[in-house]
Every structure is written in C-alpha cells, then in structure tokens.
C-alpha cells in the first residue's frame, strides 16, 4: 500500500504560496481567546509529491474507463467526456448560488429545460431538481406524502415496501417517521398482490416500488397495484433507480405512480466519483405539486426564469441552495446529445444486452448459476449461486473475487436479499457484445477451474493491489483516522 499523505509530510515543505497581506494589519482583529493555539496538523508537502501521491492512489482503483462494471442496480454506463467539459465552463463552475436570478438566466433556463425533459420522460407534470441523491429524493417523496395527507387532516403511520426493495426505501420510511411494513414477492418476481391487499388499509400512507424491480422484473400487475393503493387514498412512490430499462417504452406516471425519483448518476450518466456526487430529482402529479420543496425553478410569463420561494404549502428545503447544478449540466448534456430516439435506444439496448448476457450465461453456466426467475428480464437480472455453492463449494463472494483477477468488476452480490447467494447483473447499453461474451466466458472458466480446485476462487483475488481484507477486524477495532 501507499503511505498516507500524512505519513509523507515533512515539516517545512509546502505547495501553497500565500498572496501577500496587502492591507494594513490590525492585530486586534481577532481577540486572543478566539484564536486557535495549535494549527491543524495538515500535511506539509510540495506539489510534485501531492500529484504523485494521488496519481498513484488512483491507479489502485478499478474504474469504468478501464473495464466492464456490471454492478446491478447501479447502471454503470459510459460517462461521456463532453460532460466534464461543459460542466467546467466558468459560467457554470464559478457561478455563485446566490447570484440574482436576473444574472443567472442561463443556469435557470438549463434547470427549467431539464425539468421539462425529465417530466416528459417520467410522464409526470412537475419536477423538482432539489434532492442531492436518490435517497434524499426518497425522503423528499415520503415527506411529500405526509404533507399531502396532513393537508387532508389524515395522519397515517405505515408505509409498505416489498422485500425486494433497496435498503434505502425502508431506511427512508423510518427517517420520515413512518413504520415499515414488508410486502412479499410472488412466483414471477412481482409484488404478491394478495399479501399487498391484506396489508393495505387507510393507515397506510404509501407503497414504495421499483419497476422494473431489483430482480430486473417488470411487474405485470402494476395497474392493479396502483388501484389497490389509490383506493385507500395512499400514494404510489416510484424508485427510479431502474428507469434505464423503460425510457421511451413506458412511463411511471402512466403506470399510476404519484411520485418518482430519478438517479441522474445512473440513468443520466453522472460519473459516480467513487461514491458521489449524484442528484435525485423528483417528479410528481398535480395533487402532490403544492408541497414540492422550495425554491422551484419557474418560467415567468415574460419568458424569464426565476426561483419561486412563494410556495406556502411547500415541505421546505432538505438542503442548501438549488441542488447539484453541476450534475444537472452533465445530465442535460446527455439528454441533448441523445434526444428522443437516443434515449429510447438506450433502454432498448440495455434490455437487449441484459437478455443476451443472461442467455450466454444460461448456456455457459446455467447449471451452477441459474437465473433466480427464469423469464425475459429487463435491464438487469439475478442469478443464484446456490447450486454453485453445493456443487463446487465456492460461494458467490468467491466468484466475485475471482472475477477481479480476470479484470472484471463483479456484479452486485447478496442483493436482493430474498435470493440465495444472489448475483445482480446489469451490463448497461454501452457495453459491446464482445465484452459481454468475454464476461460470460470468464465466469465459465472460473466455474471450470473451481471444479478442479476450489481453493483458487476461495483465496481470490490474487492479482489485486491488496487481497482479501479483514473487514470484521476493521469493525471490531475501528481505526478511522491517521494517528498523528
């Protein structure tokens, strides 16, 4: 491993050269009792070594520009280089968030146009770009549901989430002050409608659904589900993490959803940055609109754009300023580049790639890694490693680690929870057929190798900067900062 930047520090070295104090000194400007005695022990190091440190660190990462990254539910599609160029324009990058709207018309227009485009894609009329990520979009969405019911003097206490739901859904429900009720999954991988009916009553505020869901299955009963919820006056929430599957084919709004969040860093290709930034805009129906966060970007009758704070029923803000604008620039560039056809082609190709890879894996590895739900998938699909574990004695985790040696990032593993030894595989539309073939063959090789000698996979990875790490030890005796 590389020594930390703190370990490379040597007293007296520096990269920063301070501008001179060009004003008459006022030594009483800050009374002694407010002054820090000991400066923070930041590194002392010159520019060349900072550059080498972080350049070297960077090379220890697997990344999308290096190879295949089929991380299910994360939509690891290509990040166009154009987006970094337009985001870096000084008119964007150096625009202060409190600049008067009259002098930020370009930015407000961009946001407004993005709102319109997202509304059209989701089939819901009103969009707020405010939330910082999907999870914050979820929280906003659930608080909108609360506001909607409170405005009707209804005080509901429960929210339903399928057992296939992503962890953020139940976690959000709790943070918003509701109780989570789990709904089961039927044999086709959709919501178990009977179970749903049995749990729905007028104390239920909402159902949070991902469609296609985290099994890569499109819920055929979506209309029935919607009416069940609407009959009791509950809202239907669409977790948009899987929107990449259906653009141009179907729209959450048309399916009966009231509230949608988008993950711009998934469907609309914001680079993930090793864990953010992203953005989680939300779209809502007319009845939810009054409660949207503040401020809203609006176009005035004279054609100018503005920030509207005058929203008496708004739930208010969940964060500062106007949202992750830098992310909006990139995602809007993507929408402008692809246009209507291009976006539809994205979903078509994403689904084609997923079904092709599933077919290849059925041929090459079907015996040990069968599909959890053997049917046409959407943009992703789930395999179960159960048979592999029995027959070959290696677990999904071992397969994943061995894939690292073959130069692939593993799929999402052990999620969704209801599938034994799950692998959730999402190839995305930007991968080539050759890449999908190579991945399927790599998996076949690993299985064949394991039949010979399971220890190779069990002890994998062998070629990475470090090998398996002691996560239990890390949690037992947490060392989360450099001792200085």
């Amino acid at each position: 491993m590389t020594a930390t930047i703190f370990e490379k520090s040597v007293a007296g070295r520096r990269a920063f050269v301070a501008p001179e104090v060009d004003v008459p000194r006022d030594d009483d400007a800050l009374p002694e009792r407010f002054r820090r005695a000991e400066p923070p022990r930041l590194p002392e190091i010159a520019e060349p070594e900072i550059v080498r440190h972080y350049t070297t660190l960077s090379t220890k990462n697997f990344h999308l520009d290096k190879g295949f990254y089929p991380l299910g539910s994360c939509t690891m599609k290509h990040n166009p280089k154009l987006h970094e160029r337009v985001a870096a324009l000084p008119g964007h990058a150096r625009l202060h968030p409190l600049q008067a709207p009259a002098r930020a018309q370009g930015a407000l227009q961009l946001m407004w146009e993005l709102q319109r485009a997202l509304a059209e894609i989701a089939g819901l009329p009103h969009v707020s770009l405010h939330p910082a990520a999907g999870s914050q979009g979820e929280l906003a969405g659930v608080l909108l549901t609360r506001a909607y019911h409170e405005a009707r003097n209804e005080h509901r206490h429960r929210i339903l989430t399928p057992d296939t739901a992503h962890g953020t859904n139940p976690a959000t429900v709790t943070m918003a002050g509701y109780e989570v009720v789990k709904v089961g999954t039927d044999a086709d991988g959709g919501v178990d409608v009977d179970d749903l009916r049995s749990k729905v009553d007028d104390d239920v505020a909402s159902l949070m659904l991902t469609n296609p869901n985290t099994l890569g299955v499109f819920d055929r009963n979506i209309e029935e589900i919607a009416s069940v919820m609407h009959d009791v006056g509950a809202t239907l929430y669409y977790d948009g993490a899987n929107l990449n599957a259906v653009m141009g084919r179907a729209r959450p709004g048309d399916m009966g959803f009231d509230i949608v969040h988008y993950n711009l860093h998934k469907t609309f290709t914001q680079p993930h940055g090793g864990g953010g930034p992203g953005a989680g805009p939300i779209a809502v129906s007319d009845r939810i609109e009054p409660y949207l966060p503040r401020p809203q970007v609006v176009r005035r009758d004279d054609g100018t754009f503005d920030l509207d704070y005058d929203r008496p029923e708004s739930i208010g803000r969940l964060r500062g300023f106007q949202g992750n604008f830098g992310v909006f620039v990139r995602s809007y560039a993507y929408i402008l580049s692809l246009g209507a056809d291009g976006l539809a082609d994205v979903s078509d190709t994403a689904v084609l790639n997923a079904n092709y890879l599933m077919a290849r894996l059925r041929e090459l590895a079907g015996e040990h890694l069968p599909a959890a739900f053997d049917r046409t998938c959407m943009h992703e699909f789930v395999l179960t490693g159960g048979p592999m574990k029995k027959a070959l004695g290696i677990r999904t985790a071992d397969l994943a680690k061995r894939l690292l040696d073959k130069g692939f990032h593993p799929p999402t593993v052990y999620f969704p929870l209801l599938v034994d030894e799950a692998l959730l595989i999402e190839p995305t539309e930007t991968e080539t057929k050759e890449t999908l073939d190579a991945f399927a063959e790599a998996i076949a090789e690993i299985l064949a190798e394991a039949a010979e000698d399971a220890s190779i996979a069990k002890e994998a990875p062998h070629t990475t900067p470090v090998r398996r790490l002691d996560e239990a030890g890390a949690a037992k005796r947490p060392v989360i900062r450099q001792p200085l």
Partner: protein, 456 residues
C-alpha cells in the same frame, strides 16, 4: 444516434437469435399494453457533440459568474481559488468513474482518500471521528438532528438564529417527519443571545444548533454558550466554516458533540450551489450512530495494510429500516477535492490563508463602514465575512453596483426581516485590497445615488 452504444444491426440480430427472441419489442412484452408509451418521447432529436457544446456554452455565457464580476457574495459558499492540481487529479477516470468502493481489493485509491479525508476533517475540527461526507452543509445539520433524535428522543431542537437559514430550514423540514419541534434562539448584538438560550434550555431539549462564525459573520463566544447548551444533556451541534479553522478555535476545544459544515470552500467549485460536500465530525461515543460511509484501516490476508468501508451495520443496505441514515451515494469526489486542497494548503497555509482573510475582512469592514450611509450591523469580531446596514434600498444599491461590475454581497432581507437594510459581504483570497477599494468606491456611489433619488 449511437455514439455511446456499440450494437450494430448485425450485433442486434445475432444477439436476438441467441436470446431466442424475434425482435426487441418482444423483450418488453411484460409491459401491459395499456401502460405502454405508444408514441415517441416528446423531445428534440439528438445533436452532434459540437452543437451540444455550443448550446450549453451559450447558456453558460448568459450567467454572470465570479469570472465576470468582482463578487463579494458568500453566505455559505465562497469564491476561493481552486488550484489546478485539484482539477487535474479529480478528473482522472480512476477517481471520477468508479462506484462506491464495495470491492475493497480494487478500490484502495478511493478508500485511502476517504481515510485521509476523515483524518483531515478531524484535525480541522479537533474531534476524534469523522465520516466520509454527507451531501452538503444544511443537510449535514439535519442529519445531526436525526442522530440526536436516535440518541435521546427528546421533543425540542433549539437553533440559533445565527445558524444558516438553509440549515434551519432543512432541519425543520426533516424533523417535521419524526416530530421534533424547532425553536429559535434570537441574536443579541449580532451573536446568539446567551440568556435566551439559558431560558429555553431544558431536559426536553434534544439538541442545540449554533454556527461559527454565524450567518452574520460574527464570531460566537462558544466558551460561554457551550456549557449552557449542554447543561441539561442536550447535544451541542455546531456548524463551522472550514476555512476559518486555521485561526479560530475548533469545535473540539469546546467539547461540542457534533461539528458539521459545508465543504465547498475546500477546493470545490461554486457550481451554482452544488455538488459540494457536507462534513460530519463527532465525539467517539457517537461513532456507531454516525450517518454515511466510513473508511477504516485493516490488513489483508498477506498482512498488508489496506482500507475498507467499515461499521456498515449502521447502514441501510444491511440494517434497512433500523439503519442510522438512508444515505448511500454521497460526495466522495468532492471530498477528494477537499483533501487534495487541504494537502496543498498544508499546516502553515491554512493559518496564513486564515490570517489573510482576517486582515482583509477587517480592512474591508473598516473601509466600508467609513462610507456615508454604510454602518456596521454588529460590532462582533469577524473573520471572513461581515454584515453592514445601508441607508438606502439594498436591492437597488446592488443593482447599481452590478452595473459597474461589482457584486457587493448578499441582501439579508429575505432571511432576516429585522435586517431588511442588511448586506452580507464576504472576502476571499481572490478579493485583493484593490478590489475592496473598488467595492468601497462603487458601493459608496450607489448608496449616495439612491439617497439622492429618494430626496429628489
């Protein structure tokens, strides 16, 4: 428009055959006809790269950025110089394009920078533990509120009126969900009213929220306020400006429970308000209740040092409804910019820069308050930002200044009805003495002109 996809017609045919489907339409058979979109998406056709660039460049040109005017806007985000090495390093694909580091063996770059970031934040705040970012400042304040809720379930939050208005609002929005009431502690002479705080404090108070320096730029007397706030066992949460921590005593000096703040000043762009990052540091005892990712040091099977995401049992993907927070995607790339920036600034630099801001701010305050029709809004010590009162309509004064290429600052009226004549002026190392003198010149003239206009 295929430019990001590779499937040729030949590829599609071959793939469909392998799948055993006759067409791509067939793959979407599960979507009930009644909910299918039976028309193209109503958006324009795609554009060549050069046209997308041109369109967005022209939009950008319609904004007046810090590149186009001398700006004294601050109020939470600041026009600091971002050194070139930050952009050069964070734009490397290796940092820019990976997901959250779920596979540590191939994510040591990201995991180590998170660890270094956590170290830098605990050094800045003088608190023992830090997570590896939340979204941004105000939502970090709200997250501190949620931690307090988990901690003590008490029904009241007390927030200083000196806390950033966005932080106050984010806290109110989210606490409404779980039912904790938010009460404000007024300011007296520009700083949090200690007596009012003593009045309001009690066994039923979950947490007290202060800001250092506060929204009006004033340095709060934490020495005095902290004991009052914590007297009855409430958590003390302080939002701090990281750029001031080279010169101001850090939260750790006052045993605050949680320090949060907006990370943008540390090597991040203004970006019209985001993305940036929110930092979250706390006392050891809150470690297992912290929100967000935390990187920890460990060893691999060969005994080599390495880093992993740790204490994940706090998190949604494991604990689901019992998680300490719902956050997953955070702001790692912005944290990288932050830690590179702090390494560039260094132990000496953060003090030198803090001192430069302190001196220029003092100079600017002296110079502006010497103008007719401009007076200090409070007399508290200030470090990098200060508030003044104008004897003329603030918005019209700002307009006049803007016409002359100077943005004098942020009008307080919208957030402080009691200060509708208030203007908040921020200083960075990019605002030289000459810029400050020009502000004085332009502002003085604008105020004079507006006063005339009234008398006329």
């Amino acid at each position: 428009m295929s430019r990001y996809t590779s499937a040729t017609d030949a590829d599609r045919e071959a793939m469909l055959e392998r799948i055993g489907a006759g067409s791509i339409d067939e793959l979407f058979a599960d979507i009930p006809a009644s909910v299918r979109l039976d028309r193209p998406i109503d958006l324009p056709a795609g554009k060549p790269e050069q046209e997308v660039y041109g369109y967005l460049r022209d939009l950008a040109a319609r904004n007046t950025s810090a590149e186009d005017e001398i700006t004294f806007l601050g109020a939470g985000m600041y026009d600091h110089y971002v050194p070139a090495l930050v952009d050069a390093l964070i734009s490397r694909s290796e940092f820019l394009t990976p997901y959250t580091p779920y596979q540590p063996e191939v994510s040591q770059g990201t995991l180590q920078l998170m660890f270094e970031y956590q170290t830098a934040i605990s050094e800045l705040t003088a608190l023992p533990v830090s997570n590896s970012t939340l979204y941004e400042g105000p939502s970090a304040v709200a997250s501190a509120g949620w931690l307090a809720r988990l901690e003590n379930k008490r029904p009241r939050f007390l927030v200083s009126r000196g806390l950033h208005p966005h932080s106050r609002e984010a806290l109110a929005t989210t606490s409404h969900g779980y039912g904790t009431a938010v009460e404000q502690i007024p300011l007296a002479g520009g700083v949090t009213d200690a007596d009012a705080l003593r009045e309001a404090i009690g066994e039923d108070v979950s947490a007290v929220f202060l800001q250092q320096p506060n929204f009006l730029g004033a340095v709060e007397d934490l020495e005095r306020l902290a004991p009052i706030a914590r007297e009855t066992g409430a958590l003390l949460v302080v939002q701090v400006d990281p750029m001031t921590l080279g010169v101001l005593r850090p939260p750790g000096d006052f045993d605050v429970d949680i320090a949060v703040g907006e990370g943008q000043p540390l090597g991040n762009r203004l970006d019209f308000g985001g993305p940036s990052f929110g930092f979250f540091a706390a006392q050891e005892r809150f470690l297992r209740r912290m929100p967000g990712r935390i990187a920890g040091e460990t060893t691999d099977v060969d005994g080599r040092r390495g880093f992993v995401l740790t204490l994940q049992t706090r998190e949604q993907h494991i604990r689901r409804e019992k998680a300490t927070h719902n956050i997953t995607t955070a702001q790692t790339l912005n944290a990288l910019a932050g830690v590179i920036y702090l390494s560039w600034l260094g132990r000496k630099g953060i003090v030198e820069l803090g001192d430069l801001l302190l001196q220029r701010t003092a100079y600017a305050r002296r110079t502006l308050t010497a103008l007719d029709g401009v007076e200090a809004l409070h007399d508290q010590p200030v470090v990098r930002e200060f508030a003044v009162r104008l004897a003329a309509p603030v918005d019209r004064v700002i307009e006049r200044c803007a016409e002359r290429g100077v943005n004098p600052g942020y009008p307080l009226a919208a957030d402080y009805e009691e200060h509708e004549d208030g203007l908040l002026v921020a200083i960075t190392e990019q605002r030289t003495r000459a810029d400050i003198d020009r502000l004085a010149d332009v502002l003085g003239a604008a105020v004079a002109a507006e006063r005339e206009a009234v008398h006329a």
